[in-house]
C-alpha cells in the first residue's frame, strides 16, 4: 500500500508549513531519507524528507501552498500503484490549505461498519511542543486541527477562557492567499507614491510567530528597564590590539563579540538573571546560552551561542558570524535558535543611541545595546571625549528585581570598562 507523506513539524513551534519547492517530482524514484521538498516553517526553510522507498506517486500540494502540520502532502509507493482513498481522485489542492486528508476519512462510515473505519490514534501527528498550553475542549481541538485554526489565536468563551466549539467555528482559517516563496509579496522598503493608499501584505510564517511571541511577552510579562552608560574606550583599545594581533588570520573580533562574552561572564556571577520563568517555578540555569537577535529579510531570529561563557572571543565571533549568515538564509536548525538563557539585541550599527528590547520568554532578561559614539564626559575638572555606549536591560520582574538587575548591570559595566577583568 502506498505511504502518505505528511507535513511534519520541522520546528518546535511549527503549526503549518509553506511548501516552497518540490525537489522530487511525480514519477521520481525516492529513497527513505532523501529530500522531497523544501518547506518554510515559522523559523526557517527546512527539508522534508522521504520516510519510505519507492516512487513519488502523487503530489497533493502545490508549491507555494501553506499546509497545517499533519496533513498529507504526497504519496510514495510502487510504480503504477493506486493511491487509495481521497488521495486518488482528489484534485491537487489549490494554494488554499490542503484538506486534511488523513482526518477526512477518519469518521466511521456507518454504525455497522467494519472496525478498520475508526481512526487509529497513532495516525495523529505529534502535537507541536509548545510551552504555551491552550485550554480548549476536545471538540474545539478537533475542529481546530481539522480546519487549520490556530487555537492560540482564538479567544476562548468557555469557563475560565476555555476555547469551545463556538469559538473555533467563528475563527478564520489560516491565510489562504497564494504566497509562493518566490512570489511572496514583500513589504516595500520605502513609501512609493501610487494610486493606492496602502498595501495589505499577508503575514509570513515568521511574522506570525514574531507577532505571537512578542505579544505574548509584553502583555503578560511585567517588564522593567535599567539603563547604564558604559565607557568603551578601553574595550575599543583592547579590540584594536586584538585585531592587530590576529592580523590577516581572519575572524576579527567585533564589539558584539566582546559584549556577548561580557554578558555571558557577568551572568556566571549573577545566576539570578540567567533564568527562565516557568509559570509555577523559576529555572535558574547553570549553563549560559546567549541568544543573539539577528535581523533577517522579513523579521528577526535569535540564534544561540551556547556556553558563551566558556568560549573565546574568537570562537564567539566565528560562531556568531556563521549563525547570523545562516539565519539570513533561513537555514537555521531548530536547536540553533532555541534554548537561550538570556539575550542580547544590538542596534549599535544603526546608530541607535538607546532603546529597549522585548524579552523573549521564558527568558527573564535581554540587554539592548546602543551605538558606541564619542561623547563629552567630565573627567575630574576637565571635559574629555570618550567612546561611550548606552545599554538597557529589560527584566521580567517575576524573576529579576530592580537591585538584582542593577547588580548584574554593574558587573557587566565593570567588565566592559575594564576588559582585562574578563580574563579573571
Amino acid at each position: 500500500m502506498a505511504t502518505k507523506v505528511h507535513m511534519e513539524a520541522l520546528s518546535p513551534t511549527m503549526e503549518e508549513g509553506r511548501l516552497v519547492k518540490w525537489t522530487k517530482h511525480e514519477g521520481d524514484a525516492v529513497k527513505s531519507g532523501e529530500t522531497l521538498a523544501e518547506v518554510e516553517t515559522d523559523k526557517a526553510v527546512m527539508e522534508l524528507v522521504a520516510r519510505a522507498d519507492g516512487q513519488l506517486l502523487k503530489v497533493m500540494v502545490q508549491e507555494g501552498s501553506t499546509v497545517p502540520v499533519g496533513n498529507v502532502v504526497a504519496w510514495i509507493g510502487k510504480p503504477g500503484e493506486k493511491v487509495d482513498g481521497d488521495g486518488a481522485g482528489a484534485p491537487a489542492p489549490t494554494p488554499a490549505p490542503a484538506k486534511p486528508a488523513a482526518s477526512e476519512k477518519a469518521p466511521a462510515p456507518a454504525p455497522k461498519a467494519t472496525p478498520q473505519a475508526a481512526p487509529p490514534p497513532s495516525q495523529a501527528p505529534a502535537a507541536p511542543a509548545d510551552a504555551t498550553r491552550v485550554k480548549a475542549s476536545p471538540l474545539a481541538r478537533r475542529i481546530a486541527k481539522e480546519s487549520g485554526v490556530d487555537l492560540k489565536l482564538v479567544q476562548g468563551s468557555g469557563p475560565g477562557g476555555r476555547v469551545v466549539k463556538r469559538d473555533v467555528e467563528g475563527a478564520p482559517a489560516p491565510a489562504t492567499a497564494p504566497t509562493a516563496a518566490a512570489a511572496a509579496p514583500r513589504p516595500t522598503r520605502d513609501v512609493r507614491r501610487t494610486d493606492v493608499p496602502y498595501e495589505d501584505v499577508p503575514l509570513t510564517q515568521i511574522r506570525k510567530t514574531i507577532a505571537k511571541r512578542l505579544a505574548a511577552s509584553l502583555g503578560p510579562v511585567p517588564h522593567f528597564f535599567l539603563t547604564t552608560d558604559i565607557d568603551m574606550e578601553r574595550a575599543a583599545e583592547a579590540r584594536e590590539a586584538l585585531n592587530k594581533q590576529l592580523g590577516d588570520a581572519g575572524g576579527k573580533v567585533s564589539f558584539n563579540d566582546i559584549i556577548i562574552k561580557a554578558v555571558a561572564l557577568a551572568l556566571v556571577q549573577h545566576r539570578a538573571c540567567n533564568a527562565w520563568f516557568q509559570e509555577d517555578h523559576i529555572r535558574y540555569w547553570n549553563e549560559v546560552h546567549i541568544g543573539m537577535a539577528v535581523a533577517i529579510e522579513d523579521g528577526l531570529i535569535t540564534p544561540v551561542i551556547r556556553n558563551a561563557d566558556l568560549k573565546s572571543l574568537r570562537e564567539i565571533g566565528a560562531e556568531a558570524r556563521e549563525l547570523a549568515n545562516r539565519a539570513r538564509n533561513r537555514r537555521l536548525k531548530p536547536e540553533e535558535y532555541t534554548g537561550a538563557t538570556f539575550s542580547v539585541s544590538n542596534l549599535g550599527m544603526f546608530e541607535i543611541e538607546h532603546f529597549t528590547a522585548v524579552i523573549n520568554p521564558p527568558e527573564a532578561g535581554i540587554v539592548a545595546i546602543g551605538s558606541i559614539a564619542p561623547r563629552a564626559v567630565p573627567d575630574g575638572e576637565r571635559i574629555v571625549v570618550r567612546r561611550r555606549m548606552r545599554i538597557t536591560m529589560s527584566c521580567d520582574h517575576r524573576v529579576i528585581d530592580g537591585a538584582t538587575g542593577a547588580a548584574f548591570l554593574r558587573t557587566l559595566k565593570q567588565m566592559l570598562e575594564n576588559p582585562l577583568a574578563m580574563l579573571l
Binding site: P107, A108, P109, A110, P111, A117, A118, L139, R142, V164
Partner: protein, 463 residues
C-alpha cells in the same frame, strides 16, 4: 421583621428556593414568599412523591418475577393507600429539608400569596416588602384540564396528578390523557397497583419528545404489561358521569370509545402568571403565555427576573434550579456561565426508564446533520443480564466529521442515573472518543455507554 431585602423571590419551588440559597451564599439579604409548602410542586406534588410511588410499583413488579430469581414471595398484594402515605412522608421530609436550608442560610420565609408592585415591591396580605436589587418571579405552573372537550378537572372522575398523588384507593380503571413524563409515570404506577390503564396520546407516539426508538421500546413494554397504549389519538368528546367517564377516541382512522372509572389529565401544565401583578409592573408575556425574559432572565420590567416554569420551557425542576443560580450570581455582580438550554437532560422514571440529552435522531435528520448512530442494547450487557433488566439500549448520535455527541438516548433500568455521563461529556464538549477512553467499570450498565460510543465509530467490542 425587616421589610427590605436585596432579593425577594416569589415562589419557593426548585427554581425559587435554589435562587434564594445561592443569593444568600453570595451575601445578599434574601426573602422567599411561598403560599403553600416550601419545595413547590416538585417536592410536594410532583417529582419527589411520584418517585416514591414509582419505587412501590417497581417493588411490586420485582416481586412478581421474584420466583425466577429463587425468591418466593407468596401472593403479592398491593395497597395504594400505604404507598401514598409513604410518598407523603417522603415529600414532607423533603419540604422540611427545604425549610431547614432556608434557616441555615438565614433566608426570611414569608408565608402567603405575594403580588408584585411597581418599584421592586411585593405585597403579601397587608405587608409590603421591598427589594433593593431585584424581585425574582418563580411562581411555577399547575395542572390543567381540557375544558374544550368537556374534561374539566372535577377532582373525582376527572383528576390531575394532584389528586392521583393523594388517593387512598385506586380506581378500577383509569384513562390517562397525555403520554409525556407525567402520563407515562402514572401509567406505570397505577398499572402496578392493579388498575386497568388506557394511555392516550395525541401525537403519533408516546413520549413524543424522546427519540422514536425510545418510544417504541416503551410502547412495547407497556403493552406487554397490559397497558392499553393509543397514540396518534384524538379525543373528540368526553362524557363525564358520576362514576365513570366515556371518551370518544379517534386513532388511525378508527373510532372507539374508552370507558374508565376516572380520567387523569396529564397533557401539559399551565403557568402561574395570573393575579401576580405582572401587568401592573410592566412585565410582558410571550405568545405562548410564558413571562418574556432576556438572556439574563430579566423580564421586560428592569429589576424583575423570571425563572423556572414561568420563564419558559423546558418545564423541568433542574432547569429552573439552574436559572435560579444564574440569576443569583448575576445579582451578586458575578458573570455566571450562560445556561446551555440544549444540554438539559430529560428523564422519565417509568420502567424501563428513559433518559436523553441533546438531539433525537429525527431532529438530526431534520437539521440535515451528517451523523452516525451508535447503539448498544442492554441485552448484550452482562450486568443487565444479571439483574434481568435487559430491556432498552444506549444510543449515541455522533457528528460524522468531528465526533461531537449530538444527542444521546438511554432506555433501561437506571437510565436516569446513567445519562449524566453524557451530560458531562456534552457540557465539556468531549467527543465520542473521550467517552470511550474513560475506562468504564465492569460489569456495569454504564459499559453500554462506552460501547455505544465505540459503535458510533464502527468498533463496538461486545456485540
Amino acid at each position: 421583621m425587616p421589610n427590605s431585602f436585596d432579593v425577594i423571590v416569589l415562589g419557593g419551588g426548585p427554581a425559587g428556593y435554589v435562587c434564594a440559597i445561592r443569593s444568600a451564599q453570595l451575601g445578599l439579604a434574601t426573602a422567599v414568599i411561598e403560599r403553600e409548602k416550601l419545595g413547590g410542586v416538585c417536592v410536594n406534588i410532583g417529582c419527589i412523591p411520584t418517585k416514591a410511588l414509582l419505587h412501590s410499583a417497581y417493588i411490586a413488579h420485582l416481586l412478581e418475577g421474584a420466583k425466577d430469581f429463587g425468591v418466593e414471595a407468596g401472593s403479592v398484594k398491593t395497597d395504594y393507600g400505604v404507598a401514598m402515605k409513604r410518598s407523603r412522608k417522603v415529600a414532607d421530609q423533603n419540604s422540611k429539608g427545604v425549610e431547614f436550608l432556608m434557616k441555615k442560610h438565614k433566608i426570611t420565609v414569608v408565608k402567603g400569596t405575594g403580588v408584585l408592585q411597581p418599584g421592586k415591591k411585593v405585597k403579601v396580605g397587608n405587608d409590603v416588602y421591598e427589594a433593593k436589587k431585584a424581585v425574582v418571579i418563580a411562581t411555577g405552573s399547575r395542572v390543567k384540564g381540557i375544558p374544550q372537550i368537556g374534561l374539566e378537572i372535577n377532582k373525582t372522575t376527572v383528576i390531575s396528578s394532584d389528586e392521583a398523588l393523594l388517593m387512598e384507593r385506586v380506581p378500577e380503571s383509569l384513562a390517562i390523557i397525555g403520554a409525556g413524563a407525567v402520563g407515562m409515570e402514572f401509567a406505570d404506577i397505577f398499572s402496578a397497583f392493579g388498575v386497568k390503564v388506557t394511555l392516550i396520546e395525541a401525537l403519533p407516539r408516546i413520549l413524543p419528545i424522546e427519540d422514536a426508538e425510545s418510544s417504541d421500546v416503551l410502547a412495547k413494554s407497556y403493552r406487554k404489561r397490559g397497558i392499553d397504549v393509543i397514540a396518534g389519538a384524538k379525543v373528540s368528546k368526553a362524557n363525564v358521569a358520576k362514576d365513570k367517564v366515556t371518551l370518544d377516541v379517534e386513532a388511525g382512522g378508527e373510532k372507539k370509545q374508552v370507558v374508565a372509572a376516572a380520567v387523569l389529565m396529564a397533557a401539559g401544565r399551565a403557568v402561574n402568571t395570573e393575579n401576580v401583578g405582572l401587568k401592573e409592573c410592566g412585565i410582558q408575556l410571550t405568545d405562548r403565555g410564558f413571562i418574556k425574559v432576556d438572556k439574563n432572565l430579566q423580564t421586560t420590567a428592569p429589576g424583575y427576573y423570571a425563572i423556572g416554569d414561568v420563564a419558559g420551557p423546558p418545564m423541568l425542576a433542574h432547569k429552573g434550579s439552574r436559572e435560579g443560580v444564574l440569576v443569583a450570581e448575576l445579582l451578586a455582580g458575578q458573570k455566571p456561565h450562560p445556561i446551555k438550554y440544549d444540554n438539559v437532560p430529560s428523564v422519565t422514571y417509568c420502567h424501563p426508564e428513559v433518559a436523553s440529552i441533546g438531539l433525537t435522531e429525527d431532529q438530526c435528520k431534520e437539521k440535515k446533520l451528517d451523523y452516525v448512530a451508535g447503539k448498544f442494547p442492554f441485552s448484550a450487557n452482562g450486568r443487565a443480564r444479571g439483574t434481568g433488566e435487559t430491556d432498552g439500549f444506549v444510543k449515541i448520535l455522533r457528528d460524522k466529521k468531528y465526533g461531537e455527541i449530538l444527542g444521546a438516548h438511554i432506555v433501561g433500568a437506571h437510565a436516569s442515573e446513567m445519562i449524566h455521563e453524557l451530560t458531562v461529556a456534552r457540557e465539556n464538549e468531549y467527543t465520542v472518543e473521550e467517552v470511550d477512553l474513560a475506562i468504564h467499570a465492569h460489569p456495569t450498565m454504564s459499559e453500554a455507554i462506552a460501547e455505544a460510543a465505540l459503535d458510533s465509530m464502527g468498533r463496538a467490542l461486545n456485540i
